[in-house]
Symmetry: C2
């Protein structure tokens, strides 16, 4: 797709577009695919391997990810990879469309090593979810 676009055209969706035009379709139908957003298992991928797995993107890469697997206790989601873990930063942001809450956006930073002694990296993830059906998430990864 991106190769066939004229110079300067890019995939730069708004938060609202990511939710209404992509994530909602994926949640409704697991078979939904898009040239712009690749499927990925975040527990099996280090952040620096993600750009190569993306369909397109230069500074931001987009993915669909299934709901995080829970720890046996069920209390925390597992955001670890082999090399480190994603840690939530800040508060979740509400995404509205025409005044109606359509989803949430969470920001996470990747730490190398094991919590709580991990070393902060420059890899950042924005995780979009529907409020009612969090089976899939849309992920935007960037290196800041």
């Amino acid at each position: 797709m991106e190769e066939s676009l004229p110079p300067g055209f890019r995939f730069h969706p708004t938060d609202e577009e990511l939710i209404t035009c992509y994530l909602s379709l994926k949640v409704s139908d697991v078979r939904f695919t898009s040239k712009a957003i690749a499927d990925v298992d975040l527990n099996k991928c280090e952040p620096w391997d993600l750009p190569a797995k993306a369909s397109m993107g230069e500074k931001e890469w987009y993915f669909f990810s299934m709901r995080d697997r829970k720890y046996p206790t069920g209390l925390r989601t597992n955001r670890a990879t082999e090399a480190g873990y994603w840690k939530t930063t800040g508060k979740d942001k509400e995404i509205f469309r025409a005044g109606r809450l359509i989803g949430m956006k969470k920001t996470l930073v990747f730490y190398k090593g094991r919590a709580p002694r991990g070393e902060k990296s420059n890899w950042v993830m924005h995780e979009y979810r529907l409020e009612n059906k969090p089976t899939f998430k849309t992920i935007k990864v960037c290196y800041i």
Copy 2:
């Protein structure tokens, strides 16, 4: 063009792309046109009329503009419209490609009324020019 793109795809060129993929072609051939960048006479358009004249864009609008007409004295370029004038702000930025200077970027703010008593507005213009052949400029307008 934009209507036929999937959701989330936009014209978001880098400074370098604006110069090498668009402005250079316009300077080489006045007949060059692009779906992304409309021709405009900035002296005849108030900033708030520009979005409607653009080919596409939601928060940023792109244009080709001919070299500013000079005052009879030849000392200053005429950046006035009927309702006000564009005033340079800050220093010009050099645009490099692979270490070579390919163009300059100037930032201007629109003031309503007449200098020096104009009232600052939220309309901002980024003006790209080739260093050697400033017959045409590429203009990016936004409302901040």
